[in-house]
């Protein structure tokens, strides 16, 4: 393993470590990971600063939810999960299962879709059980941002299990210990080189936060997005010493993306107009082609990316990248988002060992070559 691969690997493994507890915005682990990254950026020669902001509403599962069906305890995130519209239900509440055909819902757990939220609240149902699919490994990925919180507890149940419950009914006992509250976020900014007046500037971004550990289960968030952070930090390190004088180079390691892209929303309005933004979200397992989404006046950036892809042998295809790049594009900046795979997406098995060294290296080469092509075309 060469020096580049060692540095990339170190960032991924350190960010995924127990001490950072999944890096959810507003947590001690999240803040500590920002401090660690600031040290890495200073060591790479950057001037580092922090930008604080508040995310208005972040979900926090503060105890492991319970779902028992006729006395059998089901498994959180395999058989069921909290629904993001759920009201907080701290203690298990027993009740009879019923379908939407039940004439009176009071005190019953109703097997229905989320469109029944209003009726469930009006009739004081115990709560709703709604069907949800799982990923290829049988997990329900964890989310912490979503629609507004409703008035009744809502639990997502694995689709086949939901169908079985609908056939057999019986009794359940369930809790959804989940709060929604504001959270303090902190972007980490690093300036490697200031642009000359009127000169070209590049901003490399990656979100550094994760969805956070559950009370009893780790969510390492190694791919989403420790891998992207590693690529951005290493790319900046390589570019800082080789770009022509007068070209600006900065890095933003953003907080609160998983909670609604709040860190980039805060930052985008402050970025100098015309700055080229390259966001990396997921660089862990390239399968075929990297996904690219562009926004704003991104023509030159796309041309440079295309040339860079040909140079370093990375295939690219248009694909939705719902990440911080959209905030910068919405602010009128030329912005692209690049995704190169997230194995185990927002589940406990999103671990460092599933982040491929070859993909980290390929992503770094792609970003570095893109910036060099872009600067070459601007000179």
């Amino acid at each position: 393993m060469n020096g580049t691969s060692r540095r990339l690997r170190e960032v991924v493994e350190q960010l995924a470590a127990d001490e950072f507890s999944g890096r959810r915005i507003g947590t001690a682990g999240g803040r500590a990971s920002g401090q660690w990254l600031a040290g890495q950026l200073r060591e790479a020669g950057a001037t580092v600063g922090f930008e604080e902001f508040e995310a208005p509403s972040v979900r926090d599962v503060y105890a492991t939810p319970v779902l028992e069906w006729d006395g059998v305890r089901l498994t959180h995130r395999r058989d069921f999960a909290e629904h993001l519209t759920s009201a907080d239900l701290p203690q298990p509440l027993p009740g009879r299962l019923a379908t939407v055909d039940e004439p009176a819902w009071t005190g019953h757990w109703i097997l229905a879709g989320p469109e029944q939220l209003r009726r469930a609240a009006d009739e004081q149902a115990a709560g709703l059980l709604v069907p949800r699919g799982v990923d290829e490994a049988g997990w329900m990925p964890k989310m912490i941002a979503g629609p507004p919180v409703g008035a009744v507890p809502v639990i997502s149940v694995r689709t086949d299990l939901h169908a079985a419950m609908t056939r057999r009914l019986g009794r359940v006992r369930a809790s959804v210990p989940m709060r929604s509250s504001p959270a303090a976020g902190e972007n980490v900014h690093a300036e490697f080189r200031a642009p000359r007046p009127g000169g070209v500037a590049v901003l490399l971004t990656a979100h550094r936060d994760g969805v956070g550990d559950d009370p009893d289960v780790r969510f390492p968030a190694a791919a989403d997005n420790a891998s992207g952070v590693a690529v951005v930090v290493e790319s900046a390190r390589q570019l800082a010493s080789t770009l022509p004088a007068g070209i600006g180079l900065a890095v933003a390691l953003l907080d609160g993306e998983e909670a609604g892209a709040w860190g980039s929303a805060q930052h985008a309005a402050k970025v100098r107009p015309g700055t080229y933004v390259i966001n990396v979200d997921g660089a862990a397992q390239l399968s075929g082609a990297a996904s690219v989404e562009a926004g704003g006046p991104a023509g030159p950036l796309l041309a440079a990316l295309d040339q860079a892809g040909r140079r370093v042998g990375v295939a690219l295809r248009a694909g939705a990248m719902a990440s911080d790049n959209r905030r910068y594009a919405a602010a009128g900046l030329p912005a692209i988002g690049i995704g190169m795979g997230i194995p185990g997406y927002q589940t406990p098995v999103e671990t460092p060992d599933r982040v491929e060294d070859a993909t980290l290296l390929a992503a770094t080469r792609l970003v570095v070559a893109t910036v060099r092509k872009l600067m070459g075309s601007q000179e």
Binding site: M140, P148, E258, L302, L316, S323, R327
Partner: protein
């Protein structure tokens, strides 16, 4: 051989865009988010399934991350 929706054949391409780079300005909404492979099948309320995205009503005037 892997054939992508844009019609290009992966094994024929060494690198760069499989098609017109400008397509990235109008990316297909299907095919995963945040670089993830296939989206997880879900019956959740739609906005909650897009990684890192708040519901539209939570981000007025900022351009929703879910697009």
């Amino acid at each position: 051989m892997i054939v992508y929706s844009m019609g290009a054949v992966m094994s024929d391409v060494q690198g760069g865009f499989l098609g017109d780079p400008a397509e990235a300005l109008r990316p297909p909404t299907a095919g995963g988010c945040c670089g993830s492979p296939a989206p997880v099948p879900s019956e959740e309320v739609s906005a909650s399934d897009c990684c890192g995205s708040a519901a539209p009503e939570q981000v007025p005037d900022r351009g929703n991350c879910c697009g």
